[in-house]
Subunit: 203 residues, 2 copies
DNA sequence: CTTGAAGTTGACTGAATGGTAAACAATAAA
DNA sequence: TTTATTGTTTACCATTCAGTCAACTTCAAG
């Protein structure tokens, strides 16, 4: 019973968008409300603070979009190397899109946000960490599969995954800072090299 | 003639410290003044805004510390691979120190700051970019030397440098977000692997 | 010892922002 | 149609913060 509304979802989406494009610190609650078309009173009806909203936005984005996307990229129907290569290709295209839409390469919202607030906001830091860990696990599992199939050189899969993920996030960060997609263009190839890939045959 | 003072230097140092530990957005001019032991009136005597101060702080830190340190790490008296390996070892130790001092792994101030403000403050973004590019050039030059000496596999040195630097910054970012030095521990080894290093003999 | 440049101080303003409260509106179950 | 519940709105308060200003201090050159 009661009144129904999608204001909460609009706030979540607006918050993520603004924080991604700008930064956590510079985005005010008023700005989020305006973008979401919601009055401040309603904001505080749903969330007790910007921090709580940010955590909810990260979680919602993961469960409603991120999870499915990553599942797609890392689908078992693809060969392990194709998963990784395809993932990086998709990232490139996504960032390309963001650049034409926003005028900026935006990079990874999780990583940027996490790096910004990690010493100041434990709730956000913890949620970011959780999501990043989940993402690393996709890499790790693909690497394990690749090793089992003999396409990826043996060795600590977890370490390789961390390495690949660091390369990934570092490249996204550079791309964001320099507003230059060039830092992402070679990722598909570079990642294959790093993994000591023996590619069977791939386009 | 006139009065002499080191207030300007104290402001530069305080600003960098605070921004590094916390973030650009969360650090107020009042906080910088307090840490520097300077009144706000004096702040505005030396700098016209927090943004201008930040740019000056980055530049001063590079010319007065960073440059010399990097010159040391990448000294021609070391073998190209030793330069890179030693650099990553030093980074690890430095971050270890920061963690015991601040309670946090702080990562790279340039990268964190750049990622935070790059869509909002062109002056800072540009200065960050400048410094990051300089740092990449150290990598690139070491890689070139290593290739010339046959210790590093051939191929686009600039691309390899970018890749290594992305790995570096990505690892620092992860270490910061998760407050975990583990992301930095393997960098010396991993970097050697990535470069296709053929190490002659090294400890 | 005067003079003017360089630097310092503290009090002030105005705008932005986070946060509150109380009245109001819509909805569905009873 | 009542009623409880959920959501909305508006006006408001308090605080923080960037930025200003004019008076004051220190110093060194002449």
């Amino acid at each position: 019973m009661g009144r129904k509304s999608d204001a909460k979802e609009r706030l979540l989406a607006a918050a993520l968008d603004l924080i991604w494009e700008r930064s956590y610190g510079v985005v005010t609650i008023d700005a989020i409300c305006e973008k979401a078309g919601v009055k401040k009173g309603s904001f505080y009806y749903f969330f007790e603070s910007k921090s709580v909203l940010a955590v909810a936005a990260l979680e919602a984005d993961w469960t409603e979009r991120g999870q499915a996307k990553w599942d797609g990229y890392f689908s078992a129907s693809l060969s392990p190397l194709e998963r990784i290569k395809g993932f990086f290709k998709s990232i490139y295209e996504k960032q390309q899109l963001l650049q034409t839409e926003h005028g900026y390469v935006l990079g990874c919202p999780c990583f940027s946000l996490g790096s910004e607030v990690c010493t100041q906001d434990e709730a956000i830091r913890s949620k970011v960490q959780e999501i990043l860990q989940r993402q690393i696990r996709y890499f790790e599992s693909a690497i394990r599969d690749g090793q089992a199939e003999g396409q990826i050189s043996v060795g600590d899969a977890a370490a390789k995954a961390k390495c690949l993920f660091a390369l990934f996030e570092g490249s996204l960060g550079q791309a964001r800072i320099q507003n230059d997609l060039g830092f992402l263009r070679d990722l598909p190839e570079t990642s294959m090299d790093i993994l000591g890939a023996r590619m069977p045959v791939t386009a």
